[in-house]
């Protein structure tokens, strides 16, 4: 007992803040929200146990829940690949044949850093407004643009474009990854007369797979969590016609506008399961397409 204490005491002392935080702010709340998800709770009266009612309502009768899922999944399916493709493309462009890339790198990264700020969301609303800049540019080419943000058919795409604009951080990670690929592989391929596309599929992609995997997991989780921009652009409601009803926006409104805390907790748990599921699937399938090279670095 004394030895156990002696061995562990310093580490546990250093971990004390994290322990408190973990139990009080992470594990505790996760379990508490699981409990709350089986109750009706408006923050005035005590939570009342209702069994599976919340989940039943959610899956069987709540059309807005399905709408929120649809919006969020569409967004994730479009924004994540688009952003990663941008990031990889630009990273490859910067990686080879240029002497100085510092300034480009900085310019391309800046939007990622500003991206979640309210100022940018406000800016985006105006850029894609019916009389906004985008339509003015299109008008120059004789194209009549849509109303973008106020049109339910197009509003989600403005957020996808916003996501693409912020390809900076996966780009930096790709750049670091590309730097790790030995140059002589390309030189050898060049001598053998291997075409550029073939070099990309045979050398770049396989050797970059761990980095792609890493970016994919992070960006997917990130995309599921999208909140501020959707909240601001949709006036906090998911409008127009619920086309911007991101899952997080719906959850927020159920909880803090209508004070349906029990139901919102059920929504939160479903979100947790969805993200957990996607992460698990990515990890599980990764062994078929990600190969780590132990010899190298």
């Amino acid at each position: 007992m004394k030895r156990f204490f002696k061995r562990n005491a310093p580490a546990y002392v250093f971990l004390t803040p994290w322990f408190i935080g973990f139990f009080l702010l992470a594990l505790g709340p996760i379990l508490a929200s699981l409990y709350l998800s089986f109750t009706r709770y408006d923050m005035v009266a005590d939570p009342r146990w209702v069994g599976l009612d919340n989940y039943e309502y959610m899956f069987e009768r709540d059309r807005r829940f399905w709408k929120a899922l649809e919006v969020t999944f569409t967004y994730v399916a479009l924004a994540v690949p688009a952003r990663l493709a941008m990031a990889l493309g630009v990273a490859m462009l910067l990686d080879k044949g240029l002497r100085t890339i510092g300034l480009y790198r900085a310019i391309f990264y800046l939007p990622s850093l500003l991206g979640s700020s309210i100022a940018i969301a406000i800016l985006w609303r105006q850029l894609f407004a019916a009389d906004g800049v985008v339509n003015q540019v299109l008008a120059k080419f004789g194209i009549e643009g849509a109303a973008w943000i106020s049109d339910p058919d197009t509003s989600l795409y403005t957020l996808v474009v916003l996501a693409m604009w912020q390809f900076g951080s996966p780009m930096l990670i790709f750049l670091a990854g590309l730097r790790g690929i030995p140059r002589d592989l390309y030189e050898a391929a060049e001598i053998d007369g291997t075409s550029k596309p073939r070099q990309f599929f045979r050398i770049t992609l396989p050797l970059l797979a761990p980095v792609i995997f890493f970016n994919l997991v992070l960006q997917t989780i990130e995309a599921f969590k999208t909140f501020s921009s959707a909240f601001i652009i949709s006036n906090g409601t998911g409008a127009p016609a619920d086309s911007l009803l991101f899952y997080t926006v719906y959850l927020f409104n159920e909880a803090f506008k209508f004070f349906r805390m029990g139901y919102a907790s059920a929504l939160a748990w479903v979100l947790l399961l969805i993200i957990g599921f996607f992460t698990a699937v990515t990890f599980f399938t990764s062994k078929y397409w990600v190969h780590y090279e132990n010899e190298r670095d």
Binding site: I122, L123, A129
Partner: protein
């Protein structure tokens, strides 16, 4: 003799061909480089255009904002800044002070608590290390929305709503696992011999943390400080939930108020204040670009 002469001739010819090929390659490489630069410059303009548009609109007279694509204002209208600063029920001086208080405290909290935890994970041996590390990594994945409601109930019962405590205290409890991860990555690279030598000299782990690890980790601390500064500065959801009284609003909440007062007449002011809210982030980015880029490349997030 004769064969020798032909040999030399062939060799010369070969050398000449090789030289020409090299020249051609060089020329081609240069042309490719120029195309690349043209493309990248074009792309830079597209990437920066929205930001310049925001800046330009903040300086334009109201009727010019949506009527022309020209970025250069016909006259510089600084009124947007002076009037925008006081356009809301409280002046932006209040909002900036509030944001500054929250940000500074949060950064201190993040640095202290996360470096404690990271030191334990990276350098100390203890029972349950792998389990705790796995749990810590899992919290990276958990969306804030999942813990939001119980946390809100907790802070409400503590009487903390409408104070900065719900925004600041979690940061002293290492709630942002990203920074723990970032620091663990860095601490692991420091040579272990340092700890061992210090240990033999009778240094306690506490002293090793303070005298060896921390001073050697200033770059990592810098990266963490800048990221946490920028994220806390831009944070919207937590202030939105916990701050109800307008005099305790942070800058992002204040900006949102402009949207509620929709009406053409305040666009310029709204843009002006939006520009100002981005200034600290951009200044920090320019000043500490190296730390930021390195931080992302090694830990890889956001």
């Amino acid at each position: 003799m004769k064969t020798n002469a032909t040999d030399t001739a062939v060799r010369d010819k070969n050398a000449q061909i090789a030289h020409e090929i090299r020249l051609g390659q060089k020329r081609r490489a240069r042309r490719a480089r120029i195309y690349k630069h043209i493309f990248l410059i074009g792309m830079s303009i597209v990437m920066l255009y929205p930001l310049f548009w925001l800046l330009a609109s903040s300086l334009k007279p109201e009727n010019e904002i949506f009527s022309t694509l020209t970025l250069w204002p016909s006259e510089f209208n600084w009124d947007n800044y002076t009037e925008g600063w006081n356009a809301l029920p409280k002046s932006f001086t209040v909002f900036y002070m509030n944001s500054a208080i929250v940000t500074v405290l949060s950064v201190i909290g993040n640095l202290l608590s996360c470096s404690f935890a990271a030191y334990a994970f990276a350098r100390l041996q203890f029972n349950g290390k792998n389990l705790f590390f796995a749990l810590m990594m899992m919290t990276l994945m958990i969306p804030y929305h999942v813990v939001l409601i119980p946390q809100y109930v907790l802070f409400l019962n503590l009487g903390w709503v409408d104070t900065y405590l719900p925004l600041v205290v979690p940061r002293f409890l290492a709630s942002d696992a990203f920074f723990i991860f970032l620091m663990v990555q860095f601490f692991r690279q420091l040579p272990r011999e340092l700890d061992e030598a210090a240990m033999i000299d009778g240094c306690s782990p506490y002293k090793i943390y303070w005298v060896i690890i921390l001073p050697l980790s200033l770059p990592a601390m810098g990266t963490a400080a800048i990221f946490s500064l920028i994220w806390v500065w831009e944070d919207f959801l937590a202030p939105l939930i916990y701050l109800n009284d307008i005099k305790s609003y942070t800058v992002p909440l204040a900006l949102r108020l402009f949207l509620d007062q929709e009406g053409q007449s305040i666009f310029g002011q709204m843009f002006a204040m939006s520009v100002l809210s981005l200034v600290p982030v951009i200044v920090f980015f320019i000043a500490f670009q190296k730390l930021i880029v390195r931080g992302i490349a090694t830990s890889g997030m956001k």
